[in-house]
Symmetry: C2
């Protein structure tokens, strides 16, 4: 994964002497850049303070520990409200819109953030609890709230699994023909599977379910 260097602006320590809120935001921005670039283990509280242009003590004051700082700084690449809106717009068959949103927007615009989240989860067991809590609290809760189906949380996580694996196979490993397949082709193949996972169109689903 190439690393962007656009975030390497010269520090402006004078600007950060403002309110507590500004310092806190500066620390979070610095933490996001460093966790994404160096991983959980490679990032120190000291380096975050330095990059944010604040005193180390302030980082400890606001966040206490590195796992807490990670939990506060990590941003899921997926907007729960957007996912909720897509699910609610057409509850009987959300798969088409959902697949299109992932393939056309998330996988293109948030590719680096998705890679960073995956690398954090796979590479650093210490940051997994924070990542897990965040996913459960935001994305799964939001999606499950709009699904009428039984096992709504579990179903939301299974649909999420399909999109995680799709990102790995298409955008990271790049297996063919998946990597070169058009969005249209993929949407048409993915939508029925997403609908089945999410419990949409239950009667269609049950037919393939049991022997």
């Amino acid at each position: 994964m190439p690393r962007r260097t656009s975030d390497r602006r010269p520090k402006r320590p004078g600007r950060r002497a403002g309110s507590a809120g500004e310092s806190r935001d500066a620390i979070l921005r610095a933490a996001r850049v460093l966790f994404s670039r160096l991983g959980f283990r490679g990032t120190t509280m000291r380096a975050v303070a330095k990059r944010a242009g604040v005193d180390m003590a302030l980082v400890h004051y606001f966040f206490g520990s590195k796992p807490n700082l990670f939990a506060a700084s990590v941003e899921l690449p997926i907007d729960p409200e957007r996912v909720t809106a897509l699910l609610a717009a057409r509850p009987s068959a959300p798969g088409v819109a959902l697949a299109r949103y992932y393939l056309e927007h998330l996988f293109v615009e948030r590719s680096e953030a998705i890679s960073a989240t995956l690398r954090a989860g796979l590479g650093d067991p210490e940051c997994v609890p924070a990542l897990r809590a965040l996913i459960e609290r935001t994305l799964v809760t939001a999606a499950a709230g709009t699904l009428g189906a039984k096992d709504a949380r579990l179903r939301a996580e299974l649909a999420g699994a399909l999109m995680v694996g799709l990102f790995v196979n298409r955008c990271i490993v790049g297996v063919e023909p998946l990597a070169s397949a058009s969005v249209e082709q993929l949407v048409s193949l993915l939508a029925p599977a997403l609908d089945a996972l999410l419990g949409a169109g239950a009667q269609v689903q049950q037919r393939g379910d049991r022997s």
Copy 2:
């Protein structure tokens, strides 16, 4: 991910002085352990030679370069023949057997190998081409060969994506309720989606497909 230490046996250099085939096997075994433990970048040809108890020149003689050594040493955690047999056993609805095989066997018995493969793919762009070629050549070719559906290779890769993401969400990140869900419950939710992705029971599928 905790690292197993069971492979840290004392070296027995005397035994490796045998045939060329034995040396080659020893190098591959050493490479597998080191790539899995240290990643692609952290593994040197020198360290592989040392662990295998052979001369550096022999590693270069057999494999030429580190990417070549990686490509030769990487083992997919999934047996293509087993997957082919599962697909062929019940072509109209292979999802149940496939989901059960992944959840009961692969995710349990090959957990460490799957993690290592994922870490390699995500962490080391240099080893991605070897990984990609291996997946395309073995797993996708085998699975696609037994699927009658149009787009068989693409469909095989999409079903694989679901299982990759399932492993990440259930076994690595451990989101709940997915991590604690029973195999039975997951099989019943996954099977229709796998059948849809693989093009099994095509008429069931098309109904959910378009608006």
